[in-house]
Symmetry: C2
DNA sequence: TTGACTTGTCACCGCATGGTGACTAATGAT
DNA sequence: ATCATTAGTCACCATGCGGTGACAAGTCAA
């Protein structure tokens, strides 16, 4: 007789494997059961269906980078850097962290098409994450009259777009968005944008 | 007996209607024939299938804003504005033009997930468009040591993301990306980013 | 040994999809 | 009037999907 826990694990593993292999386009109960080498009825029995499975999967992995990873393990240090400097470096680290996570990129792409349990969990994680990050700098908002929220929204959106688009496109705006060289240029410009932008106002 | 040209028109119209109504998720021969009120076999007969139809559709519409629209009908004027000013305003107008085109937004979303005949046409249009725009300012590249291409890639990506994301999301980064008020903040920050960024170097 | 329960297998259902072949009915040229 | 062509209808196919009910086999308690 089989082992229930082991089967559940096989199914959970298969979610990540299938997403990484074929993307969310072909994602479904049948394909999932095939990937796991398991009968699909067990997905319904053990997880109550796809939504429940995605929920379980979402809670069992680290799709999103931690604040520590973004801050090179030293968030405190960033509180004392000039604002433009800090924002720029955080954004660059954020982009690097996402580039290393193909699974997260896939989920982010999925999010553009339709919401589901997995993308919802990702969105919640990100929301809480963003708020904690923002709170870290809330005391320094008076340093500038720029709209910090809108600026980070813009630059965060830029990173998201390039990350997602890079899954199946090499060139955007005459620029290689999949090579390290191309990203180097983007990172550099990201830093310059932030530095120059905040330089116009008082800096801490 | 029916009218061939009229039927072809009905089918072509249905492409836009269906995309606007249900997005590309449910896009297919059957749904398309239903929308057009026509038998699906005619799609194969008249267009050789979906790819051919998309090609025809793509060549029969103006998804992409013209350079004139982006430049308020006066591109020459932009050549004499300070570089940061010009880039910023062009980007803002670009965003506004896209916000007005739900169909284009849908195709842009499609493009992020998978390429097809329609997105290819859009990409080619945009590529040529970008090159002409870039050429307009090529003579002034010496004014700055910034990486103009990378910067416009970033800010263009930002706009694309927010445009696409706005289709089914209200809030991003604690910001309303679907209301006019939210976009006002984004536009303002976009302008400031460009102004401040280019201000550090010599400006024309 | 009996009987309840669990794990897993299998066959099946309804439905939608992309795609094709056979047909009807109108048109127009000879 | 005849006959080929054309526009459009319809039935059908294989395939894949999400989802369910019936059942075999193995486990454990009474």
């Amino acid at each position: 007789m089989g082992n229930k826990e082991q089967t559940q694990q096989k199914i959970l593993m298969a979610v990540g494997e299938l997403l990484a292999k074929d993307g969310f386009k072909k994602f479904g109960v049948n394909a999932l059961a095939r990937q796991a080498g398991v009968d699909k009825v067990l997905i319904y029995r053990y997880f109550g269906g796809l939504p429940g499975l995605l929920r379980s999967f979402g809670e069992s992995a680290d799709f999103w980078p931690t604040l520590d990873e973004i801050a090179n393990g030293n968030l405190q240090e960033f509180r004392h850097k000039p604002l433009g400097e800090a924002v720029g470096e955080l954004l660059v680290n954020f982009a690097r962290a996402l580039r290393k996570r193909p699974l997260t990129r896939e989920i982010m792409a999925w999010e553009m098409l339709e919401p589901n349990e997995l993308t919802t969990i990702l969105a919640e994680t990100r929301e809480e994450w963003a708020q904690r990050l923002f709170a870290t700098f809330s005391a320094r908002l008076t340093e500038t009259d720029l709209d910090l929220l809108a600026i980070t929204a813009l630059l965060g959106a830029a990173i998201n777009y390039l990350i997602i688009r890079g899954r199946n496109t090499q060139i955007f705006n005459l620029l290689e968005i999949n090579s390290d060289a191309g990203w180097k240029r983007l990172e550099e410009s990201l830093l310059q944008l932030c530095r120059n932008c905040f330089a116009g106002t008082a800096d801490g």
